[in-house]
């Protein structure tokens, strides 16, 4: 997921209401004004701002210019609706005949269709064709054929269970995608992950289960593990929960951790050609899946960022000493208020949530 949480201990300065009114705020007003959606009180604010100084007027003129000269950004030539409808009808009837439309289609498939469309043009230049051929050849060993792949994709705050053809299960966390074959091959079970997932793999010693994620390759025969490798994050993290797992780099197979076992963690820092093995000391790494949270005498500096990630909130502390308070508690399927009320009561703090920001205030604690 995109990290919306500040690292532990960082204290954010809250914005005063005045600072809220940045350029984005006035852009929104100007836009509403131009499309006749401006409320009376907003008009007052806008006019007051315009009368404040000539700099604001200049900004206003620039906003108008941007609005007026970007309207053509999305102009497309007239589309052939008839041809498009015919294509859709074909596709739906074909699917009905096959009694299924793949739930998720492949981006690669879109590209493939587009390439087909331009094939006529491409064929005119044999060298181009040759290059594409080479390009495809070079991809063959690692990428399976286009047709049999499926993709399960999740949006923000969404997670899904995918049952693979061998009976293995993958819980895919938010903003992730998992690409897998509708039916695995005979000698291996390979899936492609971008984002975060928890796998419970059926035992099948003759057919290794392989997850390719970023630069990393995770191989098991039958076990459960958690893998997190978002494009937006600098690390790929593997947490083993049972069995034994091998973790390596795709392009440097000799860089590998063999036999990671339960409660061990393998970590890869993108760009740094090594893997590290450590103990998994975070009881909440699977909170998104188990819907449970557990804190054992940890500081709020540690706890609050985790709550922020779990509940999709930003965290703001009004006083840095708040981060030093400690808290112990366990929660099953909690709401943010259930957690925060207990924390507030036991530490003498107060909290409120507005605009997706969890604001914590109070004296805080002095103990180191």
């Amino acid at each position: 997921m995109p990290i919306t949480v500040k690292p532990a201990g960082v204290v954010m300065v809250l914005k005063s209401p005045d600072m809220e009114r940045n350029e984005a705020f006035y852009w929104d007003l100007v836009q509403k004004q131009q499309s006749g959606r401006l409320a009376a009180e907003e008009e007052t604010i806008l006019n007051a701002w315009l009368n404040e100084n000539s700099g604001h007027r200049e900004l206003y003129d620039q906003f108008l210019s941007i609005l007026r000269n970007t309207g053509s950004y999305d102009r497309l030539p007239e589309q052939d609706v008839e041809a498009a409808w015919a294509e859709l009808e074909d596709r739906l009837t074909a699917a009905e005949r096959r009694k299924e439309i793949p739930e998720y289609r492949l981006d690669r498939y879109l590209l493939y269709r587009r390439l087909l469309r331009y094939a006529a043009a491409i064929i005119l230049v044999p060298t181009t064709l040759y290059l594409i051929y080479l390009n495809r050849q070079s991809r063959l060993p690692t990428e399976p054929s286009l047709r049999e792949m499926q993709v399960a994709r999740t949006g923000p705050a969404e997670n899904n269970l995918v049952i693979l053809s061998d009976g293995s299960q993958a819980w895919v966390n938010q903003n992730s995608s998992l690409m897998y074959a509708a039916a695995f091959e005979d000698d291996n079970r390979t899936v492609y992950l971008s984002g975060e997932a928890f796998f419970e793999v059926r035992k099948d010693p003759g057919r290794p289960f392989i997850v390719l994620c970023g630069d990393t390759r995770t191989e098991v025969t039958g076990t459960s593990f958690h893998l997190r490798g978002y494009d937006s994050e600098e690390r790929v993290i593997l947490n083993v929960t049972s069995g034994s797992v091998s973790f390596s780099l795709i392009n440097q197979p000799d860089i590998r951790l063999n036999a990671l076992v339960a409660d061990e963690r393998g970590e890869y820092l993108k760009g740094d050609p090594r893997l590290t093995r450590q103990l998994n000391d975070d009881p909440n790494f699977l909170a998104w899946h188990t819907r449970t949270l557990r804190f054992d005498n940890q500081t709020l500096g540690h706890i609050l960022p985790r709550l922020g990630e779990y509940f999709h909130l930003e965290i703001a502390l009004k006083n840095p000493d708040i981060a030093r308070c400690r808290f112990t508690g366990r929660f099953a399927q909690p709401t943010v208020d259930e957690v925060m009320e207990l924390i507030a009561r036991t530490t003498g703090l107060e909290y409120e949530i507005s605009e997706d920001i969890l604001v914590v205030s109070g004296h805080g604690c002095n103990e180191p």
Partner: protein
């Protein structure tokens, strides 16, 4: 266009929706993708899914609004998932196709667009992906920042920061002409 959407979608209505909304939805996808072919594919997908799932999904509000939201989401997902794997191939495809099929990737070429408009279009194209998405959702979809934040899965704060950056870039483009 008003419909009783407690009724399941029938074939005639589905076809009418397609004919009415197709071009607008292509444009919606096109703003984000800047590629006419991918945009058409996305819209085809959105309709195919609606048809396939017509008995399962409950559409709140008019179908057109649902189609519109789905197109935006699909386009954003497409941008996100294709950022790594596809861009390489797309760049490759474009560099080889361009000499043959002309300027299909410079859409302004066929249309009557002023120099100032072209400058701004280019400035929008050159925004960082996050800034561009925020700007487009605000400028064209007229979404409030809170809704943009929900759509993109980031905080309102972040959205505003991206918006300020986007505006600064576009204002610079105005000045530097």
């Amino acid at each position: 266009v008003d419909i009783d959407h407690s009724q399941p979608l029938d074939e005639a209505y589905f076809e009418r929706l397609f004919r009415e909304q197709y071009h607008l939805l292509c444009r919606t996808a096109y703003r984000l993708l800047r590629d006419a072919d991918s945009s058409r594919d996305i819209v085809q997908d959105v309709f195919a899914r609606l048809w396939k799932n017509r008995h399962q999904i409950t559409v709140r509000g008019p179908y057109a609004a649902y189609l519109y939201r789905a197109t935006i989401h699909q386009s954003l997902n497409y941008l996100k998932s294709s950022a790594r794997t596809l861009n390489r191939e797309r760049r490759y495809a474009e560099s080889t196709e361009r000499p043959l099929s002309g300027s299909r990737n410079t859409p302004d070429a066929h249309l009557e667009v002023s120099e100032l408009e072209q400058t701004l279009h280019r400035a929008i194209d050159l925004l960082s992906p996050a800034c561009r998405e925020v700007f487009i959702l605000s400028r064209f979809e007229e979404m409030p920042y809170k809704e943009i934040a929900q759509t993109l899965g980031v905080s309102v704060n972040t959205v505003e920061k991206h918006m300020v950056k986007a505006l600064a870039s576009l204002r610079a483009a105005l000045k530097n002409r």
